[in-house]
């Protein structure tokens, strides 16, 4: 049986001056996640196993997607092979496998597209790099569309704005539609349908967990901060990743949100029906599943009768909420339209800070020198506040309000140029640990630089995946797993509770 010993692979060395690695062909050809079983596929509307007519069904699915998503058609046609993206992917930089160059990953699909959907490719395939959809090609798709975290860093540098993530999503959707889904993502989505969240945390367990948190916070602070569940008539429904209930350092962020709501005097509630902000439907590129997962939030908001929806620290959840909720589960005419719909917890907190409504003792964090990891879906797929770039400034302003010592990492690794943590896009699973460790290299190098130069002790993030990924990979690079913290942990620790005397 499989033990838990660390897998055998070389952990990359942290270099002072990162250089682009020479290619190593097939360096990661062995990497692929577990395939979903029938029990993970069927609840999502996918066939339980590889279908007999997989070839024809894959091509007809591709045809459907090209018609449904005009962007995909443009991305298939527009690439001129300029090479600007080649050295922008953390997985290429960490693994040196040329198929992890974004253009090469896209070409796995583009070459098939040419063969079946273009005149030249139909008649002169060899001249235009068109290939038949063979079993080998399907296997390559499965491997390399699960070595892309859909972080969209490469798209920032593409002169045509090709969104590689959309191609990965299409690849995964075609694979799932012929019966070859990914276990990690699909098992989780099936769990959301059955139990309400990615973890499979049932309502009574959630209630017990929140009660235990209330005791802990009261013991620590002497103040009875509440973490309400299913409270009808509350003003705010907080939708947060279920990792916030379960794991460290996530839970310290949840404790922080509760303290902020307490100090604001706002009535709020969590929901056992919508006990998950994450939406893995986006990772597998499937609109129907994305919609079905998101719908639970609308249902909970309506049945609890809340006026506002606030989203906790979760990267892709915020992208889905900010960019897609309105068309997925809107209109939101039942909410109070004088507030942003939806609102990020950082926007909520920042608003209070700007009004001087929170008393902060920054000295509580004087033992720390903090940096901030921009999460890809927040940075490149959303915004916060009322100014361009608010998704970068708002979380930083919260950290700076709570900490005296803040430094940013190198500019080519932050803001819209941020590197993925290495575990995003549905890849945060132990069967991909080699990929995750290697893909974290660019972020680890940037972090190490500020550790050495400025004595950085902590890196804050606003994404559950980033937090879990860093907890796992930091030790591989000789850094402490507890360096990674939630933004609302920093704030919560410095927040003075109670009323002024």
């Amino acid at each position: 049986m499989a033990g838990m010993k660390k897998p055998e692979f070389d952990v990359p060395e942290l270099r002072e001056i990162p250089v682009i690695p020479p290619i190593v062909i097939d360096a990661m050809a062995h990497s692929k996640p577990f395939v979903a079983k029938a029990e993970h596929q069927k609840p999502l509307g996918f066939p339980g196993e590889l279908v007999d007519d997989w070839h024809d069904r894959a091509i007809s699915k591709m045809d459907e997607l090209l018609g449904k998503y005009r962007s995909l058609q443009v991305f298939m046609d527009a690439c001129v092979k300029c090479g600007a993206c080649t050295d922008k992917c953390h997985y290429y930089l960490g693994t040196a496998d040329p198929k992890n160059m974004p253009v090469a990953r896209q070409d796995l699909m583009r070459s098939v597209y040419r063969r079946y959907f273009t005149f030249a490719g139909k008649h002169f395939p060899a001249l235009v790099g068109a290939t038949d959809l063979t079993e080998e090609v399907v296997e390559d798709w499965y491997r390399y569309y699960h070595q892309c975290s859909e972080c969209r860093r490469c798209s920032v540098y593409c002169p045509y704005g090709i969104d590689t993530a959309e191609i990965t999503m299409a690849g995964r959707e075609i694979l799932a539609s012929i019966g070859v889904g990914q276990k990690y993502a699909n098992e989780i989505i099936a769990k959301v349908y059955k139990i309400g969240n990615n973890l499979g945390l049932p309502g009574p367990a959630l209630a017990d967990t929140l009660e235990s948190l209330e005791e802990e916070v009261e013991e620590d602070t002497g103040v009875a901060v509440k973490y309400p569940l299913d409270q009808e008539g509350a003003d705010i429904l907080l939708v947060t990743p279920s990792a916030d209930f379960f794991a460290e350092p996530h839970v310290d962020g949840l404790i922080g949100y509760g303290k902020v709501f307490h100090q604001a005097g706002t009535s709020w509630t969590l929901s056992s029906h919508a006990s998950e902000a994450a939406n893995f439907g986006i990772f597998i590129g499937n609109y129907e599943n994305m919609k079905q997962v998101a719908m639970r939030v609308r249902e909970a908001a309506q049945s609890l009768g809340v006026k506002r929806i606030v989203v906790g620290e979760c990267g892709h959840a915020w992208r889905v909420a900010y960019s897609f909720w309105n068309s997925l589960i809107g209109p939101f005419d039942f909410l109070d339209e004088s507030f942003p719909i939806p609102q990020h917890i950082c926007e909520f907190t920042y608003g209070l800070l700007q009004r001087g409504a929170l008393r902060i003792n920054k000295e509580e964090n004087d033992d720390k020198v903090v940096t901030f990891h921009d999460s890809c879906n927040v940075s490149r797929g959303s915004r916060m506040g009322d100014k361009p770039g608010g998704q970068f400034t708002v979380p930083r302003e919260i950290i700076k309000a709570a900490c005296n010592n803040f430094v940013d990492m190198a500019p080519e690794t932050t803001l819209e140029h941020t590197f993925c943590c290495g575990g995003g896009g549905g890849l945060l699973t132990d069967d991909l640990v080699e990929l995750r460790v290697k893909g974290a290299l660019p972020r680890m190098e940037a972090l190490k630089q500020v550790v050495d130069e400025y004595g950085v002790t902590h890196m804050a993030a606003i994404c559950a995946i980033c937090k879990s990924q860093f907890t796992k990979v930091l030790p591989y690079y000789g850094l402490g797993m507890d360096m990674i913290v939630s933004v609302h942990q920093l704030l919560g620790d410095a927040l003075e509770l109670g009323t002024e005397e």
């Binding site: 769990k191 499979g200 460290e248 839970v251």
Partner: protein, 110 residues
């Protein structure tokens, strides 16, 4: 996948988690720990037993803070933290201890 103890075969998933919770017995935990070069002490057993009790009641492993609090009560406050749990279960208390306890692997962004 599967493994065998005393002539009896036990089914597992791809990562060695027991397929059927009802199959579990203490020998299984010992066998799994041995595969990881881990000797199960009394303190390991406190964690494993708590996980099983909690799962029995709630059909999920306890959240980390619920677990550390319970272990702190049983073994002393200095041990009621995740640093100590990582000492016991270096591959991560949630995953490694759940595996020995016969529980399914926690899923999600954890």
């Amino acid at each position: 996948m599967s493994f065998e103890i005393n002539g009896k075969t036990y089914e597992t998933d791809e990562e060695g988690y027991l397929a059927d919770l009802a199959d579990w017995n203490p020998e299984i935990a010992g066998h799994m720990a041995k595969e990881d070069d881990c000797d199960l002490s009394e303190n390991h057993w406190e964690v494993i037993n708590f996980l099983r009790e909690y799962y029995d009641q709630y059909q999920i492993a306890p959240a980390v803070r619920v677990l550390t609090k319970a272990i702190g009560k049983k073994l002393g406050k200095d041990k009621g933290n995740s640093k100590y749990l990582y000492e016991l279960f270096p591959y991560g208390p949630a995953k490694q201890a759940c595996k020995y306890a016969g529980l399914p692997k926690p899923t999600g962004c954890v």
